[in-house]
């Protein structure tokens, strides 16, 4: 059987959508179980991350400790499961990593099966039930807001299992699906084990930021990795991310073939999900979940799909097909070119540093400025590639990389300007966890790649290419809270040969 995941906004995103109603009821059952039960809501949230036995790095975030979150039933959070289960399952989430997409696909498949078991066996619901997804990128249809079913405190006279009071944000205007235009997984899903992919930044990180933003004194629980999976909207948000990945593949883009990715060799923990109350384990690797036809789910094949696999949803997104974008670029750089010879852009990652900032940059609220010094000889190679651009000698692409972004001010967005032109916005979701030296990033912080090729092409065409440095401005969306800190250790500029 192929399970079909449908849009949560069917029937207006209310409980008239029976798919959503069953989700709410099954979440209620999961929430009624104690954390010692691996099929409980609380146990599943710890699989992502937790502040139950772990502590926030900053005392100022103590309100995010699970024992301090008012809406959590404290009696369900004890006693803890055996240590062997904690070691095996808890705190697995893979952020800022090329395992982000495959790990979360397995996580969704596992909870979907737990929920379906409850729906069919305990609640007498449909056996073809599947997780709904929330496509907040359908702006024209006004789906860029929390579905009404998640906002009402009561369901059938009882507390609504989908309602979470610690959600404060409602500004979804920064979310987009520009990532869907990328053609290389190294940009789309991340190049290695410690760099954000484009989809992980926007819409994933932006979605967390939008729901989890601050209410003036506290961040919402969706804004922080160790609390995010407590919110039932989390799984619908990730279901949409998974849908976008499936659509990206459906439209001819390929996943990595590197054995390190396929075998999940560098993942911080083996991917493991509990299948039942006894904690029977499903071990999986990226290779198992490269398509929505999961090849080995608890010993049997498991298939699902989505009712909408369009590449783009956002009417505002203006992204050309890769070949068209390349043709346009080459036409601009070399008007005499015979564009009929251009076939397909090659994807062959080979990066080389061409410039970097000096000392680490400490950000203030609002804008902070710095310069990236360019290396004359390396920068010259970029110039040569632009001058000699042809259908067979593709010009370099140029990337700005924010390296070692660390700090404590997690729920925020940075706008990145190069030579006073807005280039990209990045979400800091996961900043705290990535900055902890004893955390799974080893304190390396977050790293973001930003394609600035169009800006460099413009410099070249305007005859302003021979510069010694680039002006960089970084602007925080929200003022830093008292004690909140963000530093960027280095800003690098790289050329990528095609």
């Amino acid at each position: 059987m192929i399970f079909l995941r449908k849009n949560v906004w069917n029937n207006g995103g209310t409980f008239d959508n029976t798919n959503l109603l069953w989700y709410a009821k099954a979440v209620g059952v999961m929430k009624s179980k104690p954390i010692s039960d691996p099929t409980s809501w609380w146990f599943y949230a710890t699989i992502h991350d937790e502040y139950l036995i772990s502590l926030p790095r900053e005392p100022g975030l103590d309100y995010l400790r699970w024992k301090n979150i008012a809406s959590l039933p404290q009696d369900k959070l004890a006693p803890l499961p055996p240590k062997s289960q904690i070691d095996m399952f808890w705190k697995q989430c893979t952020h800022s990593s090329w395992f982000f997409l495959p790990w979360h696909r397995g996580y969704l498949a596992a909870i979907e099966n737990i929920l379906r078991d409850i729906i069919t066996k305990e609640l007498g619901g449909p056996s073809d039930w599947a997780l709904p997804y929330w496509n907040y990128l359908k702006v024209k249809e006004n789906q860029n807001q929390l579905p009404p079913a998640f906002k009402q405190p009561l369901l059938e006279g009882k507390p609504n299992p989908l309602f979470v009071p610690e959600r404060y944000g409602n500004d979804f205007s920064d979310l987009n699906d520009k990532c869907q235009g990328e053609i290389s997984f190294s940009i789309y899903g991340g190049p290695t084990n410690n760099i954000n992919g484009a989809i992980e930044n926007n819409p994933h990180g932006f979605g967390h930021d939008a729901i989890g933003s601050n209410n003036g004194t506290q961040d919402g629980i969706m804004g922080h990795v160790p609390t995010a999976a407590l919110d039932p909207i989390f799984y619908l948000h990730h279901c949409n991310i998974d849908r976008m990945w499936a659509a990206w593949n459906q439209h001819g883009n390929n996943n990595p073939t590197d054995s390190k990715w396929l075998t999940s060799f560098e993942a911080r923990k083996p991917f493991a999900m509990p299948l039942d109350k006894a904690g029977t384990t499903w071990h999986y690797i990226s290779k198992d979940v490269t398509s929505t036809n999961i090849i080995y789910y608890g010993g049997v094949p498991y298939q699902f799909t989505y009712d909408d696999l369009s590449l783009f949803s956002d009417a505002k997104t203006k992204v050309l097909a890769p070949t068209d974008a390349l043709t346009l670029r080459l036409d601009r750089l070399n008007p005499n070119l015979d564009s009929t010879k251009i076939t397909k852009k090659r994807v062959n990652p080979n990066a080389e540093l061409v410039g970097a900032s000096g000392s680490p940059l400490q950000l203030n609220s609002g804008k902070t400025e710095t310069k990236v010094k360019l290396d004359t000889s390396s920068w010259g190679k970029v110039g040569k590639s632009l001058l000699g651009a042809s259908a067979t000698k593709l010009p370099n692409e140029v990337y700005l990389q924010l390296e070692g972004v660390k700090g404590t001010a997690e729920v925020n967005i940075l706008s990145v300007f190069v030579n006073h032109e807005l280039i990209e916005k990045v979400s800091l979701f996961g900043l705290n966890v990535a900055s902890v030296s004893d955390g799974h990033h080893g304190g390396a912080g977050l790293t973001f790649n930003i394609n600035i090729t169009h800006l460099i092409d413009k410099l070249h065409l305007d005859g302003k290419f021979d510069v010694n440095d680039l002006d960089i401005q970084i602007e925080t969306k929200r003022p830093l809270q008292v004690g909140g800190k963000i530093t960027i250790e280095r800003i690098g500029v790289y050329r990528s040969k095609q």
Binding site: I295, N348, K373
Partner: protein, 265 residues
């Protein structure tokens, strides 16, 4: 950003290749640099021809048979053989974040810094090895004692701290003298964290009267394994940190099970 596959492969094969070559050299043990030579009679005193000799004389004889320079050379060779595979990831990181013309020089400086830390530690380690051999010639007692310390250290939060620090790959300056200084310092500090995590494990094979090549191989496997573990909160961990072995077993098991059910793609 990402290095080309060719560069990644080149770094891998050079580091593994040099390590393997040096392993061969180790096994050949030229000039007995890898072993502590003792008299072929039960005690040093008898060896000297007199019934009693002072400890100073015994030490002098031991040093004559095992000059400090050759012991340190043996130590250095052992470090290169055992540790180079652990430097593949930091060297890839240095290559990626450096200007192309500096890549090799920076990698070399990093390795030199790293080896300096181990060689500095080696002075003390060699002294301990010689001292224990002086007091307990051809005995398993020092190895057992150090093995116990190694077991306690292995589980301790202090070792976990050093292992965590070893995962901190620095963002380096790109230009001028500060870049050279930073990469060398990075190498030294990476070496310090590595010494902190592995010093007592490295002592163990050197104190075994026999079978120390086998022990060295086991220790290398263990150190690469624990290097593959991600950073963890600081507390006591009563596991062997044999991640490499676990991964190999898990993958083999998964492959076996799936081959029975489906074709393992």
């Amino acid at each position: 950003m990402q290095l080309s596959k060719n560069i990644q492969n080149a770094i891998f094969f050079w580091m593994m290749g040099i390590s393997l070559l040096v392993w061969v050299l180790l096994l050949m043990n030229p000039g007995n640099i890898m072993t502590i030579e003792h008299c072929k009679v039960p005690t040093l005193a008898l060896c000297s021809g007199s019934e009693t000799v002072s400890e100073a004389t015994s030490l002098q004889m031991l040093l004559n048979l095992n000059p400090l320079t050759s012991q340190l050379m043996g130590w250095g060779v052992m470090i290169i053989a055992m540790m180079l595979p652990k430097l593949i990831i930091p060297i890839e990181s240095i290559y990626l974040q450096s200007l192309k013309r500096y890549r090799f020089r920076f990698a070399l400086l990093f390795v030199l810094g790293y080896l300096s830390s181990w060689m500095f530690a080696g002075i003390f380690m060699t002294a301990i090895i010689l001292g224990l051999n002086l007091w307990f010639p051809l005995s398993y007692i020092p190895a057992i004692g150090v093995g116990l310390v190694a077991a306690i250290w292995h589980c301790s939060p202090i070792k976990q701290r050093f292992l965590n620090l070893g995962h901190n790959h620095w963002n380096l300056p790109a230009f001028g003298f500060p870049a050279f200084r930073a990469v060398f310092f990075y190498g030294i500090m990476h070496g310090v964290w590595c010494v902190g995590a592995g010093w007592v494990l490295m002592l163990f094979p050197m104190l075994l009267p026999e079978g120390h090549y086998l022990a060295m191989f086991a220790v290398t496997f263990m150190m690469i394994s624990e290097h593959l573990e991600h950073p963890r909160p600081l507390r006591w961990y009563f596991d062997l940190r044999l991640r490499l072995l676990k991964i190999m077993i898990d993958l083999a098991k998964m492959k076996l099970v799936r081959t029975c059910l489906y074709d393992f793609r």
